[in-house]
């Protein structure tokens, strides 16, 4: 696979970006890809969840502000091909500096280049909510954008904004950026509203725009977060939701490795 950088971004908060980054990262690594998750969200949920045993750790902030290097900040996981660069210690006093450093032309791209020395094939950029400087910098450095679409009506209102931001970045410096797809997240099959969002997205977008795999709302995600592990590690690795991300990873790899065929309207395979 070519070197791929996927920005996980959303205007709306709480849509499952970090959950997606962690579990997709694990699933991609299990498909024998070398994956690094770069935490760009100053909230630091990913690092705080996974590195809960550690009191302090170097991260992206330290690298960008000159008191650390990527070799120190990169955390290897037990999952072999998966590594993580946490955001580091971000206080209010450093937030502005972090945003300025990330927004500096070429800075993030240089860091991504540095990750290639470790054999990284896929970088997942876990962006903060919103379309601020950090997210725009991530889109400017990424090859692909993956957009979680929370299966709730209010989230539909923000889809056009984030797609518009991707379009803007393509026109202003990163023409190679493409939409990898929208991922329906936090889908609740017991909710009419959630179902309506899913149906609206299936019917409004072309096939390539919405990934087939749907991430449901399930308490296992909360429990996994509490334990600081991906869902694939829960229930001795046998929880069905772990399989969900394997399917998503396979779908994404298919998209990355080959052109999509648009259905020509011909006969569809029969059910039985």
């Amino acid at each position: 696979m070519q070197k791929i950088t996927i920005a996980l971004c959303s205007q709306k908060g709480g849509v499952g970006k970090t959950t997606l980054a962690l579990n997709l990262g694990l699933a991609l690594s299990r498909l024998d890809h070398q994956v690094t998750i770069l935490e760009l969200d100053p909230q630091g949920s990913l690092g705080a969840s996974l590195l809960q045993e550690r009191k302090a750790f170097a991260g992206l902030v330290e690298i960008l502000l000159g008191s650390g290097d990527i070799e120190d900040a990169r955390v290897l996981t037990k999952a072999g091909g998966l590594s993580l660069v946490p955001i580091g210690e971000v206080g209010l006093d450093r937030l502005g500096e972090l945003e300025s450093a990330l927004a500096a032309p070429g800075r993030l791209a240089a860091m991504l280049q540095g990750l290639q020395h470790f054999g990284t094939e896929v970088v997942l950029l876990d962006c903060p909510s919103g379309l601020g400087a950090v997210t725009m910098a991530a889109l400017g450095a990424a090859t692909h954008a993956l957009v979680p679409l929370q299966a709730e009506p209010l989230s539909l209102r923000s889809v056009e904004l984030v797609l518009g931001a991707i379009d803007h970045v393509r026109e202003h410096g990163n023409p190679g950026l493409v939409l990898l797809g929208l991922v329906l997240s936090m889908f609740d099959r017991a909710s009419e509203a959630s179902l309506a969002v899913a149906q609206a997205s299936w019917q409004s977008f072309v096939a390539e725009a919405v990934l087939e795999t749907v991430i449901p709302r399930d308490r296992i995600y909360l429990e996994a977060s509490l334990h600081g592990v991906p869902v694939g590690f829960m229930a001795q690795g046998k929880h069905p939701e772990g399989r969900r991300f394997s399917l998503l990873a396979e779908e994404i790899v298919d998209r990355l490795e080959g052109p999509q065929e648009v259905h020509d309207g011909g006969p569809i395979q029969t059910l039985l």
């Binding site: 009506p153 023409p175 190679g176």
Partner: protein, 193 residues
């Protein structure tokens, strides 16, 4: 429940944007100056890739799957031991030696169930909710239908005839549902006593 506001669901603008950004942007060709000194021709942007809205095979596939499963449901209630119901409406599960039954027989075995459900529900109700939930390590899907607030759960293999191992998984899933249902009944009986 009140109908959701349609403005939330107007995705035309987003859909147009998505079609544009699914491919790398191609820069307009650079106009060459006319050697005779005339004005350079205007840059021409390449045509956008042709992608038709509403052509996604998955939608058609899901609708076909839903239709087929509704037909499947329509047959089932005439088959002995196919379904169980709880007091909330339908928590439907099937029993029987599914692993011994060829797919076409399995299909026909469910034909009458939907008729019965529809007869029971009447025209004002609808079977509307669909989710394919893949179980670990298999391509077996569980179909969740909602009938006026109650659930119908059926197992099926997506897109093709089930093999023996998949039928076994369906059977196991259904058995688990029956066991859970039986447990709930026993619990209610104890609570009532």
């Amino acid at each position: 429940m009140a109908a959701p506001s349609r403005r939330f669901f107007d995705l035309d603008g987003a859909a147009k944007l998505s079609r544009r950004i699914l491919r790398p942007s191609e820069l307009p060709s650079v106009p060459r100056p006319d050697p005779a000194g005339g004005p350079a021709p205007a840059a021409v942007a390449p045509p956008a890739p042709a992608l038709e809205p509403f052509s996604r095979p998955e939608v058609a596939y899901k609708l076909e799957l839903l239709d087929a499963l509704l037909a499947w449901v329509r047959q089932g209630l005439n088959a002995e031991g196919c379904f169980a119901l709880d007091e909330r409406g339908f928590l439907v599960a099937s029993s029987g030696e599914l692993g011994q039954v060829p797919p076409e027989v399995l299909l026909s075995a469910f034909v009458a169930s939907g008729e019965a459900i529809l007869d029971h529900a009447g025209a004002e109700h609808r079977l509307c909710r669909l989710e394919l939930e893949l179980t670990s390590g298999t391509q077996v899907a569980l179909l969740h239908l909602v009938l006026d607030g109650a659930q119908v759960i059926l197992g099926i293999v997506a897109g093709r005839a089930p093999g023996p191992a998949e039928l076994q998984t369906i059977q196991q899933t259904i058995d688990d549902e029956l066991e859970r249902f039986a447990g709930e009944v026993a619990q209610r009986v104890r609570a009532g006593a």
